[in-house]
């Protein structure tokens, strides 16, 4: 026995004598985690959160969250002698007068972008594979909560330096709050401590950014992970993988080494981006004043879709009875995002309502085997891409010699046409892929080898799939559509007829599939 093993043994002994946790710990140290690259997306989000905590703490050592006016005399000469807020001044100080400060600022910002993009990618993975189904609905909702809070946290974070670009962003956020009917102007005066921009906002959002939201994040992430732990991870279908087992590697040592190593990888990639690519160069933007503006003022990408929606909004306001309602702000800034996120959060329940499937699911779907869901996902992605593109319409215009007016009109039309089109195309594509799977199982793989039969006919040799491959392509369930007869057994019209008819209709659409091969079909082939 090596010394290492001896030490590990005594540590385990020491812990158990004081906690009596031997049984529990043994069970959990050998807990099995399935291995797949797409299961690492959530880990990227988790690790970038830790990186954000570490680098963010470093930044607070110098950052002065104050809108007190100072005159800059630091080492960045093009701003020498300019009036600015202490927040902007201290951010310049971190960037140019603290060694490694700019690197840390950039790692922090890149990690924030990675945090948001990995959350979105993770969410898409969970969505398209149906991992949100029972019993994981609540973890899905927590995830949507984390995504929403992440958007807010990121926005507050890049607003802190009080530069011209982020100040413009705050100005827009202020206009959205101000547009809320009845309480809007009160809310802005409370948020800003008076008229915009005031001197209270940066200190306030600083506390929210470094204390309140990270605290909520920590709590939600803990619950999120505990649920993953307790409910055990889902797995992709394959030979030997069932609803009743998890196939993978034990936590100790393989998964620990891989996950721990991956933390360093995520940190390393953040550091790499921070080293080679400039991000949020606030010294170029200049300090914020409401009288100045830069061409191409855009938010970070996770706010960009909102900006794109606002840019394409119709110019409608209602003026009645001495009051104003700004639909041009409320629709893109509040109503559409509200509907989108609510639908997203409720989707697990909507799907189980459509399929009437109340069972637990631990085996993931291949996206093609859930055509309706996959098409809905494509709908959402297309919607987001159109809004994102419109959020950058000015840059697209200058870089591709187009006109912002054309792009805006194309987006206005595109947002109505393209998502439904994507839904339709994706659904057909999924069904075609199902058909291809069926062909593959029934007739095997095309080998490209041509054989001439004795009577002169040329045929291509098909190689049959292995049992494992055939199983993977056919293991999924194909649920029939919901039968909701309009009349009951006695021929009496059932209550809620219209609702039932609607439910039956969406259920039919949801259940649309190409029949997968049955064992008998395969037998038939063999006999033939």
């Amino acid at each position: 026995m090596s010394t290492g093993e001896k030490v590990a043994g005594s540590v385990a002994n020491y812990v158990d004598e004081r906690t009596g946790a031997a049984k529990w710990l043994k069970k959990n140290l050998t807990k099995v985690f399935p291995d797949h690259w797409s299961f690492m997306l959530g880990e990227i989000a988790l690790y970038s959160f830790i990186i954000l905590l570490l680098t963010g703490t470093f930044l607070t050592f110098w950052f002065d969250p104050s809108q007190r006016e100072v005159i800059y005399h630091g080492s960045y000469l093009p701003l020498n002698g300019i009036h600015m807020s202490a927040a902007y001044d201290s951010t310049l100080h971190i960037s140019f007068d603290v060694r490694g400060g700019l690197l840390m600022r950039q790692i922090h910002h890149w990690a924030a972008l990675l945090f948001m993009s990995s959350i979105v990618a993770h969410m898409l993975r969970v969505f398209f594979t149906g991992a949100f189904r029972k019993p994981r609905e609540f973890n899905w909702i927590i995830g949507i909560g984390l995504l929403t809070l992440g958007i807010v946290e990121g926005f507050l974070g890049y607003s802190l330096p009080d530069d011209l670009l982020s100040g413009t962003g705050i100005r827009i956020a202020e206009a959205i709050i101000q547009a809320i009917p009845i309480v809007g102007s009160y809310l802005t005066f409370f948020a800003f401590g008076g008229p915009f921009p005031g001197t209270s906002f940066i200190p306030r959002i600083f506390t929210v950014h470094v204390l309140l939201l990270p605290g909520i994040f920590l709590a939600l992430i803990t619950v999120h992970l505990m649920l993953v732990w307790y409910q055990k991870h889902t797995q992709y279908p394959g030979p030997g993988r069932t609803e009743k087992n998890v196939i993978g590697y034990p936590l100790m040592p393989v998964y620990m080494a891989k996950a721990g190593g991956f933390f360093f990888i995520v940190f390393g990639i953040s550091a790499f981006l921070g080293a080679v690519a400039s991000i949020n160069p606030i010294w170029l933007y200049g300090p914020y004043t409401p009288g100045q503006i830069s061409a191409g003022s855009q938010p970070d990408w996770y706010m960009g879709w909102l900006d794109g929606l606002v840019r394409m909004a119709p110019p409608i306001e209602t003026h009645a009875f001495h009051h104003t309602i700004s639909w041009n702000i409320l629709i893109p800034g509040v109503i559409v995002p509200g509907i989108f996120f609510t639908f997203l959060a409720l989707y697990p329940f909507i799907e189980s309502w459509m399929s009437n499937d109340k069972r637990e699911h631990h085996l993931l779907d291949r996206p093609r085997n859930a055509p309706n869901r996959t098409a809905l996902g494509a709908f959402g992605i297309t919607f987001m891409l159109v809004t994102l593109a419109n959020g950058g319409n000015d840059l697209i215009a200058t870089h591709f010699s187009l006109s912002i007016n054309q792009i805006t009109w194309m987006s206005r039309i595109g947002i109505l046409i393209l998502p439904p089109l994507a839904f339709f195309v994706t659904k057909r594509l999924c069904l075609s892929l199902q058909r291809a799977d069926r062909e593959l199982v029934l007739h095997g793989k095309e080998t490209g080898r041509l054989v001439r039969l004795p009577h002169g006919e040329f045929v291509e040799v098909h190689e049959p799939l292995t049992d494992a491959q055939a199983w993977t392509l056919t293991q999924h369930e194909q649920l029939p559509a919901l039968e909701l007869p309009e009349v009951d057994a006695h021929g009496v019209l059932r209550p809620g007829g219209l609702r039932n008819r609607f439910r039956a209709k969406v259920s039919r659409s949801n259940a649309e599939a190409i029949a997968k091969p049955k064992p008998d079909d395969l037998k038939g082939i063999e006999d033939h």
Binding site: K31, R99, G100, L103, P135, R171, I172, E174, A175, Q178, A179, G184, S185, F189, A191, G193, P195, F196, Q231, P239, K244, V246, I247, G248, P250, P253, V254, A257, K258, G261, F262, G268, I269, A271, F272, A275, V276, Y288, G291, Q292, S297, V310, R311, M312, P315, H319, H323, T324, S326, N328, I329, S355, E360, I404, N405, W471, E477, L479, K516, P517
Partner: protein
Amino acid sequence: MSDKAPRLSDPGLPEHVHRKADTDPAAAKKAERQVAILFTLSALGTILFIYSYIWVKTDRFIFIPIMGDQNASQLGMGIGLTFSLLFIGMGAIHWAKSLMPDNEVAAERHEFRSEEADRADFVATVKEQGAASGLGRRSLIKRSLGLSLGLIGLSPLLLLRDLGPLPKKSLEQTSWKTGTRLVTDPSGRPIKPSDLEVGAVAQVLPELQPGQERTLENVGKDAVLLIRLRPEEFELSPERLSWTYQGIIAFSKICTHMGCAVALYEQQTKHLLCPCHQSTFDVPRAAKVIFGPAARPLPQLAITVDSEGYLVAQKPFTEPVGPSFWERSS
């Protein structure tokens, strides 16, 4: 509800294939060396970081192909940190993949739902204990509890009241008064009509009275854009025309959509464009919105000249500037 259709048979977990390192000691030794090399690279990265932090001057630049001249200190520290972190991770993962046991194991999973009897028992207990509290029967307690819980949120909400003053008429007022001079931003010089040629613009603010200081809140409402056109180019109502002076017209620079500075003037088309959301305003027609999400024209400031010939405001803005709000009456 489930799919009752017969399925193919599950062939079960595939047989475990041994790695080279499991069977060949030389391969295992090689993998061990590879892991060691990765960890060493990480150590070298840390050394590069320390060197860059201490010895590379922050004003030194080095040429990197594609990227151009780069700050040597920033790049050295960054690449050093990247190596030190990335290669620890790579080493650990390579170690786990090539040398730690790679037998996939199966863990059983049980349905979360308890046995029928246990669950019925649990549900019954909850019902019973809930009934024992008497909440369902004692409606007085139920209602008064509802009232107190409903109200309890009010105190913390009320505590937030002192976050800021009430808006009152603040959103509707600017610093512009009858006779306030227009001065250039940021230099603060008063302007004569002759200072502006046709096709010229000026970013202006109200002149400060002695002892006054300009706050950003003021700039956020007072900023004005001055544009000179040929007088015959205007298509204005007689009233609005009287607000101009010799072809010079003044608009609030704060967008009526979301408050960005609408300072982007196209001299040939005479359009004002907001760079935030591309609302486009037609200057000769009193800043009428011709494109984009803004719903109202920019407020026009009535201007004239004072006895010394400098441009001044005829009167304050006649409507609130900036984005809309609930109490705005038009």
